[in-house]
Symmetry: C2
Subunit: 347 residues, 2 copies
DNA sequence: CCGAATGCTGTTAGCGCTAACAAGACCACT
DNA sequence: AGTGGTCTTGTTAGCGCTAACAGCATTCGG
C-alpha cells in the first residue's frame, strides 16, 4: 500500500488502445469540415439535410462521442453538478440524493458525489473543494447538521450553492421538509387522543431537523398551556431509541411519545414490549420519516411522511436558478404529511 | 500567443466575470514560466526550493485551481469514475456506493453517479453511456439483478468495467458477498436448533442475490436429505414479507423460516404476531443483511451481516487493476457473517 | 581544462472543441 | 448587371494544460 499514483499526476502512462475518434475524423469521413460536424452534433446552426445525413452516418460508423473535456475547456461549462452527501443510510438523505440526481439527469447534467462521514466545518469545506476541483458548475450540500450551517457561512461565493435541510444561518438558499409543521401535526394528533401531554424522544442536538421537530413539539404543548416533559435524547439509531425507552418506562403519566424518527421509535417499541407495556393500549407512539418499514413495525407506526423526491426536484430547480444568475430566495419548505397507523389508534 | 505572461500584468479584460486564474496568471505573478508553475503544482520535475516558494505563494494568493478540463484534454484522463447505482434505499446497494466512493476519493478519483430505477438491458446500457459521456475512466455497475448480467454481456469492451453483486454470465469481473455461503450458514443454524426442515421466503426471482440465497438454502436441505418446502416469494419489501407471513400461517410443520432479507423478515414477524404465533417460541425466524434496525425488531432478528465497506474497497481495487490494464479475474467473494439473536434462540 | 552529466527553467506544439467571422452559393429585387 | 439578403460551409484563433525537447548554468570525472 505504498504511495499510489493519483490520477492528476503524470506518473501514469496514458490508457492503451487506439484513441477515440474526434470531430476531425468524422469530418474526414463525411467530407466536410469539422465545424459542420460540430454543428450537426450540437444542432447549432444551419446544415443542409443531405450533409447532415452524411455526417450522422459517419458519426454512427465511427462511434463518435464528443470529448467533454475539450468542450468544457472552450465553453467553461462542465455539465456536472456536485452533491455533498452525508455518508449514512439514513432514509432521508439517501432519498434526497436520488431525487436530485433524477432531476439533474433529466436536465442533462451529470452528478458527482462526495460523501462526508461527520459533518463539520472542515469536512464540508473539504468536500466542496474536492467537488470544485472536479469543475462542477453548482453544488448541493445535503447536510442537515448545525455545524453544516457554520461551514456554509464560509461558503465560496463564486459558485452556486444550495443546501438541503440545513445551513439555517448560512447565506445560501435552503430547502427542506417543514419539520416544524410536521412535528406540530403529530403532537396535535397525539393530544387529540385525549392525553394530557406528549413526551418527546429527540434527535441529536446538533441536527437542525432534530431541533425543528423538538420545537414543533414544544411549542404545540406550550401553546395549549400543557406541561412540557423533559426531553429524552437519542442519536437516530434504534439502539438509542431502545435505551431511551428503558429510561422512560415507569415515568408517571407516560401515555404518548413522539419519537423524532422511525428508527428510534422502533427501539422504543422494543423497550416497551420488553417491559410489558402495550402499544397502543398503554402508551401510544409516533415517529417521523415514514420509512418503508414503519408500516410493518409491531404495531404499525404512526409517523410523518416526507416527499424526498419533491425535495430533490425543488433543490435542483433552485440550483438551476442560481446557476442562471437568479436570486433563489432564502428558505423553501416542502409540506409534511401525517400518516396515522395502529401505534396511535384510539383505545 | 500574445504577451500575456509578463510579470504582474493583467493582459486580458475579463468580460463576463472575473475568470478563474490560470497557470499563466500564476506564472506572471511569480515571474516564472507557466511550465514551472505546472511542475510545482503537479510535483513533476525538479524546481529550486526558492522558486517553488514563490510559485506556491502566487498560487495561494490568486486562489489558483487547476482546470481539470484542460488537464483531461491533454492527458486523456479525467480522474473520475462512474457508478451505476440502483435507485433504492435498499441497505446493501446504498452502503456499497459509499464504500466505493470512499476508496475512490482516497485514491484521488472523483465519483459520478447515474441511478437507474428498474434494471434492465436498456436502462443499464443508457446509464453506462451517460457516464461515458462524462468521460469517466472506469465504471462500476451496482446491479444485483439478473437482467443486469444480460445488459453487461453487451458491455463496451473499451472501458474498464466491474460489477457488484451481479452480472454472473457477463464478461466482466464481479465482486459480491458470498450469498450462497451466508444462506448455508443460516440454514444450518436453524437446523441445528432441531427442526426437521426450514422454510424460505425468497427475494425476487430476477435478483441474483435472491437466487444465490435460495440455492444456499435448498442445497443445505438437500445435502442432508431433508424435505424442501415450497418456496414463498417476496419482493424485498416489508409488505411482501407480511403477505408471505399470512400465507405461511397454519402451514403444517412450520417451525423455522429463513427470509432472504431483513425487511421481509420484519413483515413476517408482523404477520406471525397478528396470528398469535410467537417468535421464537412457536416459530423461529432469520433474515439476511443485518440492517441497523434488525437488532431492535420484536424479537431481535438473527441474520447475516455483509461488510459493504469491504465490498466497496475491493470493488475499487478491482477497477483500479483493470484500469491499469491488468486482468482482474472473474469472481470475487467477500465472506458473510452469521449474527444470532433472539428470533432463533433455542427454547 | 575539456567533455559529459546533472539540475533547473523555458519554448513550442498540440489535445478536441467552439466562437466568431469570412466566404461562397443562390435568390430576389432594383 | 448590381445590390443586398439568406443559407450553408469553411477558416482561424484560442480555451488551459502537459509532453517533449531545447537551452542554460553548474558540477564532476579525468
Amino acid at each position: 500500500m505504498v504511495d499510489r499514483a493519483k490520477p492528476g499526476e503524470q506518473t501514469r502512462t496514458p490508457l492503451p488502445g487506439p484513441r477515440q475518434p474526434s470531430l476531425a475524423d468524422v469530418a474526414g469521413m463525411a467530407g466536410v469540415s469539422h465545424m459542420t460536424v460540430s454543428r450537426v452534433v450540437n444542432e447549432s446552426g444551419p446544415v443542409r439535410p443531405e450533409t447532415r445525413e452524411r455526417v450522422l452516418a459517419a458519426v454512427q460508423k465511427l462511434g463518435y462521442r464528443p470529448n467533454t473535456a475539450a468542450r468544457a475547456l472552450v465553453t467553461g461549462r462542465s455539465g456536472t453538478l456536485g452533491v455533498v452527501a452525508l455518508e449514512s443510510n439514513l432514509y432521508g438523505p439517501a432519498s434526497t440524493l436520488y431525487g436530485i440526481e433524477n432531476a439533474a439527469r433529466e436536465a442533462g447534467y451529470g452528478v458527482a458525489i462526495c460523501s462526508v462521514t461527520r459533518p463539520g466545518r472542515t469536512s464540508i469545506g473539504d468536500a466542496v473543494e474536492s467537488l470544485r476541483r472536479q469543475a462542477v458548475e453548482g453544488i448541493v450540500v445535503i447536510a442537515p447538521h448545525v455545524t453544516a450551517g457554520r461551514a456554509l457561512e464560509a461558503a465560496p461565493a463564486d459558485i452556486p450553492l444550495v443546501a438541503v435541510g440545513g445551513g439555517e444561518a448560512a447565506p445560501v438558499p435552503v430547502i427542506s421538509v417543514d419539520q416544524y409543521d410536521g412535528a406540530r401535526r403529530v403532537t396535535e394528533h397525539l393530544l387529540s387522543l385525549g392525553h394530557r401531554t406528549v413526551w418527546h424522544l429527540a434527535g441529536p442536538e446538533d441536527w437542525l431537523e432534530a431541533r425543528d421537530r423538538e420545537r414543533g413539539w414544544r411549542e404545540t404543548l406550550e401553546g395549549r398551556g400543557l406541561r412540557v416533559p423533559a426531553v429524552v435524547r437519542g442519536d437516530w439509531s434504534p439502539r438509542s431509541g431502545y435505551e431511551a425507552g428503558r429510561a422512560l418506562v415507569g415515568k408517571r403519566g407516560l401515555k404518548a411519545v413522539f419519537s423524532a424518527n422511525d428508527q428510534m421509535a422502533l427501539g422504543l417499541l422494543r423497550a416497551f414490549t420488553e417491559a410489558g407495556i402495550r402499544v397502543p393500549e398503554d402508551v401510544q407512539v409516533a415517529g417521523f420519516d415514514d420509512v418503508p418499514e414503519a408500516e410493518y413495525f409491531t404495531p404499525p407506526l404512526t409517523t410523518v411522511r416526507q416527499d424526498f423526491i419533491e425535495v430533490g426536484r425543488r433543490t435542483f430547480g433552485l440550483l438551476e436558478e442560481r446557476m442562471a444568475g437568479g436570486d433563489a430566495g432564502a428558505r423553501h419548505l416542502v409540506a409534511a404529511e401525517l400518516v396515522v397507523r395502529e401505534s396511535t389508534r384510539a383505545r
